[in-house]
Amino acid sequence: MEKTLRRVLVGNYEDLPEGFGKTVVIEDQEVAVFKLDSGEIRAIENKCPHRGGVLAEGFVSGEHVFCPMHDWKISVKDGKVQEPDEGCVQTFETEIENELVYLLLKS
């Protein structure tokens, strides 16, 4: 079973903004990377399952982000859309090493 992970650099931990996301463009895909107020780093697909809104620009509260298009509330931990709406977005693993933040992508 092929499970090679590709590690891509997002940037310095210190340089990541809090309260809204950082957009990472990987070819034709975008990932929204969030630094939560707990200090954790989380990454999800930068595309709301509703109408494709850019989640990196949404309000962040705790472990959730509110899509700026139509205010869907989505967990940045498991990618689940919160009620009353339904759906989910892809989540990505992250890693911090020597103050640098990496995204782990499945090849």
Partner: protein
């Protein structure tokens, strides 16, 4: 357990209030007997002056009906006086030979009027002003005679004099001091009061000392120390009261000026209490109603075994209940070598204000003519606030509702009946009360002197939310139960400086807030403290955070500022060049006469702005969007005013302002209203020599025709009215409430009253508008000059394609 026997001597306000407090805490546990010398149930002595004026019956001022005594199994003996207390056997004896044993005895014998021991004081036609009997006597005299003389120019004397005027008598007020109410007012206020009352028809003889009441059997006049004399058919002595301590004294209870009590209203004799005007607490004897009720509470708690700090003394305040006169005083009224005063004296309007400050602490105040600040001052003086806090509150112009919002739950709102804010708010909530009358009925608040009515109304408003009469309390969002007004009051009260603090301190259920409250709190805090608040990017909706409108595909649009919708060839060339350079998806004219460059990538925004070198058009903002104009008098054959020039001025003045929701304006130069002012938040229409200002219009989801606010002649007036209007909207509206919804909600008449008719208010709002405007920065320029903003907000991380 057998019931405990409680005897109350004195069927007046203080004693009955203490009984009510007892019943509230322990119903059915006392066998209560009440003796009262007057043949009435407990009535509101404060409102005797109304009875005197002849249009109020005793039943109208009755506080406890006969039925109340029955309902509570109280044996009332009206017209019966206790003549002896046997403290050893715990018995009282009455003038009708009745004996009652007690476990607890409350003495609430009140005061007696102080009668000057003048020669002739026993003649017919000489009376005090203390009870219903006195009132009846005065009314009877007014039917037969013409000339009344009131000795005493204090609170009581002036109310008596006003009553006698109403009864159609000529009234001379004789006062020993050289200005009125010298115990409650300073000279300036006393003299203003005199002027006002003279206009009402009173005649004053100041600096006069009465030496004799003349006449045979019946009074015919007064003689004075200086040799003068006057005629009088009725003489009312209102020189003061003295505690009625005779019974206590004869019964061997410790008496000084009043019956001496401790903090629990206990006398030196076990199980014997004293409350009200007859009691002396920490060397103070109170002759006003408010402390009497606080004492009643302390007493009831003691008897019921409630652990309590007891009665701590009172800060008194005075209000004169004479129509047309607003006068208020509290605490220390005269400055001396240790204190300084803040004074405001407006002789023209008859307004005077003095605040006494000692070592930086507010210790007293006198207000005349305008007593709006009384609640605030009383609250500040009670808690010993520092002068800075007061001055700050004056400059931020807290309204009364802000004051009640910031009061602690246990603060007494109705001093007369000792009703706290908490009690009132709880009653409003649990009993679904919506009117002042209902609150009165359920809590006793505002039932006596009525001066707290406005506070009770404010509490209703505060508790019921903006829909004051509609009984709906609307919280900011699901993270809290607090309304916008409550949150604002708390922000002010606690000096909160960022939105996270607000959420933490005010107990938000979601620590990080939500998409509703985050931008709302950020707006409110910036509005409250334009100079000190640091705007939070993370609390801004994406459009306002990035200063561009997000489109459905994640691209953005750019609208440069074109004041009044006027552009020029240079700007157009720059726009065209930028459109080419960045391959802009579409160039579109907006509804507000601007050019919109659509379909721009986020990371290109800063360089486009740099290339354009034009200010932001704020097309994304909860703020001033555009001022649309017609061509105006310079070109149009119908135009009467320079609409373009006015539009440019308005737009330059208010650009960049944060408001609860977007603001669209227009200026037209004639009634054809080509700039469509009827559907704008502010629509200005020029007529010959006059500008009409219309507000609250909307052409979108909340379609509404604007209301005419007013007409003005000059551009200065126009700017001030529009500025004050916008500031009022900024302060009062809910976040995301358009002016159309807001004006509809509060009513245009209300807006007119504040912004058009009240020049002082208008100036205050305009001044705060100027402050808000003073801190505005052009956002595009600010961004391109700030590397951190550029990195955090606009840069994406681009990951190179994987080598295959």
């Amino acid at each position: 357990m057998p019931k405990q026997r409680l005897v109350l001597i004195g069927n007046g306000m203080a004693g009955i209030r203490a009984v009510e407090e007892l019943l509230k805490r322990k119903p059915n546990q006392f066998d209560i007997v009440v003796f009262g010398t007057e043949p009435y149930p407990n009535y509101n002595r404060i409102q005797l002056s109304k009875v005197l004026q002849g249009d109020t019956q005793v039943s109208d001022i009755t506080l406890n009906e006969w039925q109340w005594y029955e309902d509570n199994n109280i044996r009332l003996y009206p017209g019966e006086t206790v003549i002896n207390i046997d403290k050893e056997k715990q018995l009282v004896l009455t003038d009708k030979d009745r004996q009652e044993a007690y476990d607890y005895l409350i003495i609430a014998t009140g005061s007696n009027p102080f009668m000057l021991p003048l020669p002739g004081a026993d003649k017919e036609g000489v009376t005090a002003f203390r009870d219903i009997k006195d009132c009846e006597k005065m009314i009877e005299y007014s039917r037969k005679y013409k000339k009344a003389a009131v000795i005493g120019g204090g609170l009581l004397g002036l109310e008596a004099a006003r009553g006698l005027l109403n009864l159609g008598m000529d009234v001379d007020v004789i006062h020993i001091s050289d200005f009125l109410m010298e115990r409650q007012l300073d000279r300036a206020a006393g003299e203003l009061l005199q002027k006002e009352l003279e206009q009402q028809g009173m005649n004053f003889l100041l600096n006069k000392s009465t030496t004799e009441i003349t006449g045979k059997k019946r009074v015919t006049g007064l003689k004075f120390k200086d040799g003068d004399s006057i005629d009088a058919d009725l003489v009312v002595m209102a020189v003061g009261i003295k505690p009625n301590v005779a019974l206590a004294n004869e019964s061997g209870i410790e008496v000084n000026r009043g019956i001496v009590v401790n903090d629990y209203m206990e006398t030196n004799v076990p199980n014997v209490f004293a409350v009200g005007e007859c009691a002396e607490h920490r060397q103070m004897v109170y002759g006003l109603v408010a402390p009497l009720y606080e004492q009643g509470q302390a007493l009831a708690k003691r008897i019921c075994g409630v652990d309590d700090k007891g009665y701590q003394g009172s800060v008194l305040s005075t209000q004169l209940k004479v129509s047309g006169v607003d006068v208020f005083s509290t605490g220390k009224i005269n400055e001396d070598e240790n204190s300084k005063a803040i004074k405001l004296y407006d002789e023209w309007n008859g307004v005077y204000k003095k605040v006494v400050v000692e070592d930086g602490i507010l210790t007293g105040s006198v207000l005349f003519g305008d007593t709006k600040e009384r609640t605030k001052l009383l609250s500040f003086i009670k808690k010993g606030a520092r002068v800075e806090e007061y001055l700050e509150s004056t400059s931020s112009d807290e309204s009364e509702s802000d004051i009640v919002a910031s009061m602690p739950e246990d603060e007494v709102i109705c001093g007369c009946n000792g009703v706290t804010k908490g009690t009132i708010v709880e009653a409003i909530k649990t009993k679904d009360l919506t009117t002042l009358e209902e609150v009165k009925g359920h809590t006793n608040a505002s039932r006596s002197c009525g001066t707290c009515k406005s506070l009770v109304n404010d509490l209703l408003k505060l508790t019921l939310g903006d829909e004051y009469s509609a009984d709906q309390k609307e919280s900011i969002c699901a993270c809290t139960t607090l309304t916008k007004d409550e949150v604002i009051a708390k922000i002010k009260e606690k000096g909160l400086t960022n939105t996270q603090q607000v959420r933490d301190v005010l107990g938000w259920t979601s620590k990080g807030g939500c998409s509703k409250c985050k931008p709302a709190l950020n707006y409110y805090m910036g509005m409250l403290n334009p100079k000190g608040y640091v705007d939070e990017k993370e609390s801004r909706f994406v459009n306002e955070r990035l200063h561009a409108n997000i489109q459905k595909n994640g691209t953005y649009s750019v609208v440069p500022r074109m004041y009044g919708g006027v552009t020029n060839s240079d700007d157009l060339r720059k726009i065209a060049d930028v459109a080419d350079k960045y391959e802009v998806g579409m160039i579109k004219l907006t509804g507000g006469q601007r050019i919109d460059l659509v379909g721009i990538e986020k990371q290109d925004l800063p360089s486009i702005w740099a290339d354009l070198d034009m200010p932001s058009g704020h097309a994304y903002a909860k703020g001033l969007r555009t001022v649309k104009t017609c061509i105006g008098a310079s070109f149009c054959r119908f135009g009467t005013q320079d609409s373009v020039g006015m539009g440019v001025d308005l737009e330059k003045k208010f650009e960049g302002l944060n408001t609860p929701h977007k603001i669209k304006m227009s200026v037209s130069a004639c009634p054809r209203n080509c700039a469509e002012g009827a559907v704008k938040d502010v629509g200005v229409v020029g007529l010959d020599g006059v500008w009409e200002i219309h507000v609250g219009g909307n052409g979108g989801t909340e379609m509404r025709k604007a209301d005419l606010l007013c007409k003005v002649k000059t551009s200065e007036e126009l700017m001030e009215i529009v500025g004050a209007f916008l500031q009022y909207y900024r302060e009062e509206a809910n976040y995301l409430e358009r002016t159309s919804a807001w004006v509809e909600r509060v009513g245009i008449e209300h807006v007119k009253a504040i912004i058009v008719e009240d020049k002082v208010k208008r100036a205050e709002y305009y001044a705060r508008m100027e402050e808000a405007l003073s801190v505005i920065k052009e956002p595009w320029k600010e961004t391109i000059e700030n590397p951190t903003l550029l990195r955090d907000l606009y840069e994406k991380v681009n990951v190179a394609a994987e080598a295959k």
